[in-house]
Structures are given as structure tokens and as C-alpha cells.
């Protein structure tokens, strides 16, 4: 081995030799003869090694470098310049210098910060919703059905109670729903009645739409319920349930990656950024479902103001709406915003006799 070494200027590195037998350390000077031999100056009796067995650890910040020769002993040194010179001349480093150079550069750090900020903004604006959408659409119908049924069972066991609506009223509403359903043959839509959670309606990923007795009682016109059901069908059509799950996971992972274990640093508010981002996705879904409902209502000739009417009733029942910062945590867009969207389109659809 030694014979293959080219002739170099001899080099030396000061450090502490730890035998690996105990914590006892010896101040030594490692000397390379410029060819194949390394001696440790300072170790009683002296030690000699073949340069071909030498391994020099990769650099990380200003932390000590290690040099070993395959055995238990190890030299630790903060004589950085000397270690780098030895590494260059012998080629016995473990590499990692490109990483070290990246980590040493403020220019690159600044560039990366910009990349990170722009990248995560774009990722959350377009990337995550796109991926979630693709994944949700690619999910087989049987899996979606499983998810929906599982959720329904869970809800029935915890929050929901059987409906007390008269059978006649139920079949009336089912017929109304059937009209809507005809337009969306590709969706396995099904209407169920429940009660116990206040005036509400929601859709499960498998196409099950739930309507509460309370909402049925709150409405003053069945067209208001049609509007709500159209909105829920919009959620099914866009597979929002599944997308939400995927987006939620993406958000948690991202927050974990960027902030690490924040609570360890004494910040107990780690959940807040995640909650805000999550809520933005949710608001996006609601807007999508509103658009869907609006189109549906226009097609079947129901005036959009019915949607406004029921929204207003719900609003009145729920009290004041979120203002200021709280809005960023809300799962739905502000009612005023939704009302504005429906109000704006209303004039164009005032063709039908039922619009007053």
C-alpha cells in the first residue's frame, strides 16, 4: 500500500488520542510522512499505522473531527485546517464536504429560506389540494363506501339519534331528493334522516347525505332544503371527505417537519398553525360545494335565494358570525361572503316564477 502513495510534503495534526479502552486521553501529534506511514507522537511506545487504513470523519460545523485506523483507538481534533490538509493530501476523508460547504454559506441559506417560504405557500395553495384531489378520485368506490359506512356507524353510536319525522314527510323529502339524484346518476346518492345535533346536513364520502329533523323543521320551503341538499351533493361530487383526510395528514406532517417538537421548546401553541391551514382547506371545499349547488339550482330552476334564506335562518339561530382573527380558524367561509356569491348571481336567474 505504502508503495502506491505519491510523495507529499509531510503533514501533522494535533489532537487527543483515546484508546477506546478507557476515557483516558493522551495529547498527541499525528504525523504523516507524506507517503504511506502515520505515526502518533506522544503515545508511550509510539504507534504506527498504514495511511490506507485511515478514516477521517465528515465535518459538521465547528465540532471536533475524528480520525481512526480501523481499530478501537481514535484521534479527536479541533485543529480543523490541519485535518482538512491531511484529508486533501491523502484522500482518506469520509466526504461530506459538499454538505459542509452548503451549511457554511449564508447566501445559500437565504436562497433556501426564500425557496422554502415560496415553496410551502405554493404547495399549500395548489400542490396539496391537487394531490388530495387526484388521490381521492383514484380511490376505488369500494374503499370510499367502507369509509362512509364506518363513519356512519360511528356517528350513529355517538351523536346521532333516529329521526322522528313522520314517514309521509320522509317519503316526500325522499322524492324531492330523487329528482336531484336523477341529475347525478354516477353518484351513489342516498338520503337518510337523523336528529340530535341541531339544524344540520352533511354528506359522507360514499354518497350518503344526512338531514336532521331540526333542519327540516327550520326550513319554511322545501326548495330551501333542495338548496342545502345540492350543496351536500357537491361535497360528494368533489369527494371532499377523503380530500379532507389527506389534506389533514399533509398539514400535520408539514408542521411536524418545519417546527419539530415545538412543545419541547416551551411553545404550547403548536397546534395553531395547523388549525389555520386546515381551516383554509375546509373553506375552499365549502366554496366549491356552494358553486356546485348554485349551478344545480340554476339548472333545475330553483332560485338561488332559497339557499340564502336557509343560510340566514341558520345564521340567526347560531348567533353572530366569526369576525377578525377567528375567521381564520372557521371551517366555513363567512356567511356574508357566501350570501354575496349567491346574491350576485340571483338577478340572472330571476326567470323562474318561484323567485320573488
Amino acid at each position: 500500500m505504502a508503495s502506491s502513495a505519491t510523495n507529499h510534503r509531510p503533514l501533522s495534526v494535533a489532537g487527543t488520542w483515546f484508546s477506546g479502552e478507557s476515557t483516558a486521553g493522551v495529547e498527541v501529534v499525528l504525523r504523516w510522512d507524506g507517503q504511506g506511514s502515520i505515526t502518533l507522537d506522544g503515545v508511550p511506545g509510539g504507534r504506527q499505522f498504514d495511511v490506507a487504513t485511515m478514516v477521517i470523519s465528515a465535518p459538521i460545523g465547528a465540532t471536533p473531527r475524528s480520525i481512526h485506523f480501523g481499530g478501537r483507538g481514535k484521534l479527536r481534533s479541533t485543529d480543523f485546517a490541519a485535518v482538512v490538509a491531511l484529508e486533501r493530501a491523502t484522500g482518506r476523508g469520509q466526504g461530506g464536504h459538499w454538505l459542509d460547504r452548503m451549511e457554511a454559506s449564508w447566501t445559500l441559506a437565504a436562497l433556501f429560506v426564500v425557496l422554502l417560504v415560496v415553496g410551502s405557500a405554493a404547495g399549500f395553495k395548489w400542490g396539496v389540494p391537487w394531490v388530495a384531489n387526484e388521490a381521492a378520485m383514484a380511490l376505488p368506490a369500494s374503499a370510499v363506501e367502507q369509509i362512509g359506512q364506518g363513519t356512519l356507524v360511528l356517528l350513529d353510536e355517538t351523536m346521532l339519534k333516529p329521526s322522528k319525522l313522520k314517514p309521509a314527510r320522509q317519503s316526500e323529502l325522499r322524492q324531492t331528493f330523487a329528482q336531484l339524484k336523477r341529475r347525478y346518476d354516477h353518484l351513489p346518492l342516498k338520503l337518510l334522516f337523523r336528529r340530535g345535533i341541531g339544524p344540520n346536513a352533511f354528506a359522507l364520502p360514499d354518497g350518503t347525505v344526512l338531514l336532521t329533523d331540526e333542519l327540516a323543521a327550520l326550513s319554511t320551503d322545501d326548495r330551501q332544503l333542495i338548496a342545502v341538499l345540492a350543496h351536500e351533493i357537491g361535497h360528494v361530487h368533489h369527494r371532499h371527505g377523503v380530500r379532507m383526510a389527506i389534506e389533514g395528514t399533509a398539514v400535520s406532517i408539514a408542521v411536524a417537519v418545519f417546527l419539530g417538537d415545538v412543545s419541547d421548546l416551551g411553545v404550547v401553541t403548536a397546534g395553531m398553525p395547523a388549525a389555520v391551514v386546515q381551516a383554509q382547506f375546509s373553506q375552499g371545499h365549502e366554496t366549491e360545494a356552494d358553486t356546485f349547488a348554485l349551478e344545480t339550482l340554476m339548472h333545475i330552476g330553483v332560485a338561488p335565494h332559497h339557499f340564502l334564506d336557509i343560510m340566514n335562518k341558520l345564521q340567526a339561530k347560531a348567533g353572530t358570525e366569526d369576525k377578525g382573527v377567528q375567521r381564520y380558524f372557521a371551517s366555513h367561509p363567512a356567511t356574508s361572503e357566501r350570501v354575496r356569491r349567491f346574491g350576485k348571481t340571483a338577478p340572472h336567474t330571476h326567470l323562474h316564477p318561484d323567485s320573488m
Partner: protein, 415 residues
Amino acid sequence: MTEDPNSEAPVIEEALAAFEFAPEVDRGPGAIPPPPPPPPPAAVAPLPPIAATPLVTAAPPATRTLPFVFTGTGAEYFRIWIVNVVLSVLTLGVYSAWAKCRSRQYFYGHTSLDGSAFEYLADPLQILKGRIIVAFILGLLVAAEALSPVVYLLLLGALVLATPLLMVSAFRFNARNSAWRNVRFGFEGTVEQAYKTYLNIVGLSMLTCGLAAPYTQWLWSEFIVGKHRFGDETLSWRTKANDFITLYIYMVPMSIALYVLLFGGITVATAGAQLFAGDAAPADTSGGAGAAMSAMMMVVMGLFYALVTIPTAFFRARMANLVLGGIGLGPHELRSEQKFGELLKVYLLNIVTLVFSLGLAWPWAKVRLVAYRNSRLSCLAQGELVMRAGAAHDAGDGIGDAALDLGDLDLDLGF
């Protein structure tokens, strides 16, 4: 009873969290080296201080207080961190194993005792292996949660049952890959011992409805600390169960005071908002009242988080002192003297730093905390810190039964 400030820890770490220094080891990029005990007696030339030349001198049994010195800086760590984050994202997470290694190597390498820095020796490929296992388990859980509640609960149950096994594996991995002066740490707790301790804890907790928390936490800490070794010497732990119980008793009035303040705050805020609304245009209820209300709520929320930080700081400072400060190795002892007020200040500064930088100043926050912990940690050495590696060192790498050698399993992403 009192709040567990670590309650947000992920599943595998949950039990670890009981143990103040384990989280440091496992989560952070490696605060203080793992079982951060320092070393022992023998004779030799330590580094900078005494530049003695060679070997065995009859060490005078003089007692010295040796500080743990942390030399890392936020600026230096920031550049490592940003590279870690960006490369991890660009490689879809694969680089995160290397990121974790570099982060830990950075913190270990900048933490020194008696002039010698600690060393983190893990192979990133091993960490990657652990990562893949964890990702697989999490993937299964997510899929099961969506598809079938029954399968999800079964899986969760299996994971709970496997917790002691996973933890022993992680302790072994971390200890084996931590060294000081070329002598490695080790963890010799067996899987059976872990299960026994775990069962005792679960049983006691159920029997007492959780009231035994201080005692069970102590049991677990004792298991973890007492099974660590440095070189061929096992760590000792002076902390008694009573010390834990006393700390929890202190937490009771603190928690009560906190809740009183909090509910008082909400009441006052609500009343204030209504007053405000009365003054504002009475016609526009949703405007005046709504805005005043939400402003007040934000203030209350902010106050709440600031308030929660107070008992958290108190608890963690005391806990660190009890856990770390009770460690002994042969004739040498560790001292941890974190002060409630000082730690609180670090926490509050970190909150401000993180909020105003939108999280980008994370490295400075991390370094501030690690530097503080180290500044309050020292070793009371009897003579020179000389310890033998012993036969255990050789066995250390091989002993971990293949089945247990799962690599590094903790969820910490390494930033």
C-alpha cells in the same frame, strides 16, 4: 391531577415523555447527549485543562465541579437546519435520516465535559430503516382509521402492546451510538424488564385512576436511568419516589390558580365585550359585538398560552433537576440546577422568537434552550474522570438481538 406538559407527545414517545431527559435525547436534535452522564475515574490526561502527557497518574481524589459546556450557536445551527429541511423536502423525506444525524452530531459535538465533546455515531442508514418502519406503521394506522374503526383499534392496541419493545430498542440504539472520549454508552434493560415495569405502571394507574402518576413516572424513570451504562459502569440514580411526589404536590395549587385565572379572564373578557357592544352601534350587533368579542377571545387565548407556560416551566425545570441531577456514575455525580424563572424566560423568549419569525428562527430557539440546560448542568468529579470501556463495549454492538435491532424508531424528524 396535574397536567402532563408532555401530553402532546406522539404515541411512541408518550411513555418516554414521563422521563424528562429521554425526550431531549429522542426528540430534539440531541440536546444533551443521551444518558448524559459523564464519566469517571482513572487517570489520564484530560484535554485542554491539564495537558498532562500520558497515562496513569495516581489521581488525587480532589472534588472538582466540571461544567457541561455548550458551544453551538443559533447562526451556525440555522444553516445546518435550513439545508436539512430543504434537502429533506426535495428528497421526499429520505434525507431526513441524514438530517437527523447531522443535527445530533452538531449538538453532541458542541457539548463538552472536562474539555471533551460528546459524539453521536449512528449510521444514517440505520435511522432510515427505522424511519421506513415508522412510516409503514403510521401509513397502516391512517389507512385503518379511514377504512375500519375495528382494525384501527386493533392496530392501536397492538402498538400499545409493542411500546415497551420499541422503547427498549430505541434506548439501545441511542445509547450505543453516543460516546464520550471514545467510550460508548449502553442500555442493558431487557424487553422482559420493560414489560414488567410497564405492566406495573398500567396496573397501578388503573387501580388508582391515575393518582399514582408521580410514582409510576418515577418507576419508569428509574428503569430507564438505572439501566443505562457508560463504559462498563452502570448508572446509579439517587432520586427517590418522594421527590417526584413532592413536585406533583407543588403542581396542584399552581394548576388551580391557573384555572381560576383563566376562567376569571374569560368572564371579564365576556363582560368587557358586552360593554363594548353596548357602546357600539346597537343596530349592528354582528359588527360591534362580534369584533370586540373575537378581539377579547384572542387576548384570552394568548393569555392562556402564556399562563400555561408558567407551570410547564416550573415542572420541567424541577423534573430535569430531579432526573438528571440524581444521576451518579461510580464516585461521580451530576448536578442539574435549572431555575424556574430562568427557564420560564427562555420559554417566553422562544415563543416570541418563533411567532415573529413564523417558525423560521427555530434553530435559535432550540440552541437557546439547549444552552440553558447545559449551563445548569455540571459534574461533581472525584479526581479524574476515567472510566473503562470494559468488555461491555465489545458486546454492545452485537448483543442487541437481531429481532430488536430495529434501528432508530423515534418519530423525531431530526431538525
